[in-house]
Symmetry: C2
Subunit: 256 residues, 2 copies
């Protein structure tokens, strides 16, 4: 009797040409059959955006290390939806997103296209993991992430994840990772966010910049705390934004 | 002594020309000074997307009923960031988003640009409310929403909201609203999502379609349940996706 290998769906937000996508395939190709469906173009900061007013096309690319590679001219969430509805011939056993070039810690999870794709798969009932690496360097050495990605992915394939929960994994860009911590997202916000310019005829324009202001830098149960100390972090993320602990109190305040 | 009126920041995802924006201004203009900063174009389904690779410009439009109106050529979140960083001269007392043309119930909150804008303000510490109306009709009569929007906004101005919590308010498109319920988001997912076409030279393309599959249609503590029964619903939403109840168990499983 032939046993089917697990099916691993991969997407990202850096696009089908990003090195991180191929590194992620290298990390997990021995764990199952891999199909990657990635945005045709760079989609950083696309969150859970969906394309509602343009047409989408699917393009097949050359295989890589036995993995089938497709691109979609849309967002990371479009890629996951398109994979599930038109590309894959069976349900994936796990969905992986990344590996992202740059951190998705703190409240960046809200803006992250990497996590947008993982949350989308999660809402469809597919165990999902977003992987991010804390370096934007073009020649970044992803090697330190390999055993971490392989171990977490293998464990999720074995044990699955609770319904409606996915994992947000960040790996520091250091020569040695001290360990893996399960934590919550650090609370904070982005500040000093726009650089202002004047165009050649004197009209102002703006570009996004700024930095993350961590509201709780000493909290040792947060991702920011441990990433700064060269640990990889796992935040379990729930695809349900309801503030359940507020419902009862708000009933007395707001119901009519 | 002159007391300053509350400052009300408004944005939306249907764009600066949407009727819902001006209806929302009409609903709250007696509660404070209003400044609206809305996307130059339609941004439905933009979630918490941010513009990272294009320049942004701010355009001043004609005032409406004493409210100052601006547009930004970006996403709803860009509008809130730009308002806070470059347009407003003081912190707003409340941020309102909408009124959206169409529902943001169930898991649509994840994709919603309307709620993306509200969540952004919430993360900056500004009490925020997203308003949505369950009609896409061009000539929809928003009248039924007026007393609901006015009452909830006035209450939040008086009492504020807990840190990191905003409100997702949906109003049914019926002649009479039976009341207001505080609930959680119904669990579900979108299905049968793409219509397939062939272009004139035979190449396939796709457009988003599909419908929401409610996994718990009989749950009377969910938004979908009460909206179907002509009640308005309030979901308290938390701008933190951490699945806090999973952290302890996952520590034993995944830490290294």
């Amino acid at each position: 009797m032939k046993t089917q290998r697990p099916l691993i769906l991969i997407s990202n937000d850096d696009g089908v040409n990003a090195r991180g996508l191929y590194h992620l395939i290298d990390c997990v190709k021995d764990l199952g059959d891999v199909v990657a469906v990635a945005p045709a173009q760079h989609c950083s900061g696309q969150s859970s955006a969906i394309t509602v007013d343009r047409i989408l096309r699917v393009t097949r690319h050359d295989d890589y290390q036995g993995a089938k590679i497709y691109s979609v001219n849309g967002t990371p969430v479009d890629c996951v939806k398109m994979a599930m509805h038109t590309i894959l011939d069976r349900r994936p056993d796990v969905m992986l997103s990344g590996i992202n070039h740059g951190a998705n810690s703190g409240n960046s999870i809200i803006y992250s296209g990497t996590m947008g794709a993982a949350i989308e798969a999660c809402m469809m009932g597919v165990p999902a993991i977003g992987y991010s690496f804390l370096s934007f360097a073009k020649d970044a050495d992803f090697g330190v992430t390999t055993p971490i990605i392989n171990a977490i992915t293998a464990q999720v394939l074995r044990e699955s994840l609770p319904a409606n929960v996915c994992l947000n994994v960040n790996v520091p860009a250091s020569a040695k990772v001290n360990g893996v911590k399960v934590v919550r997202s650090a609370r904070g916000y982005w500040t000093e966010e726009y650089a202002k310019f004047d165009d050649p005829i004197g009209r102002p324009f703006y570009m996004l910049t700024g930095h993350f202001h961590n509201l709780e830098p000493d909290a040792d149960d947060t991702d920011e705390y441990w990433l700064a100390r060269d640990y990889a972090t796992i935040v379990p993320a729930r695809a349900d934004m309801t503030a359940h602990d507020c419902v009862a109190e708000f009933k007395t305040k707001y119901e009519q």
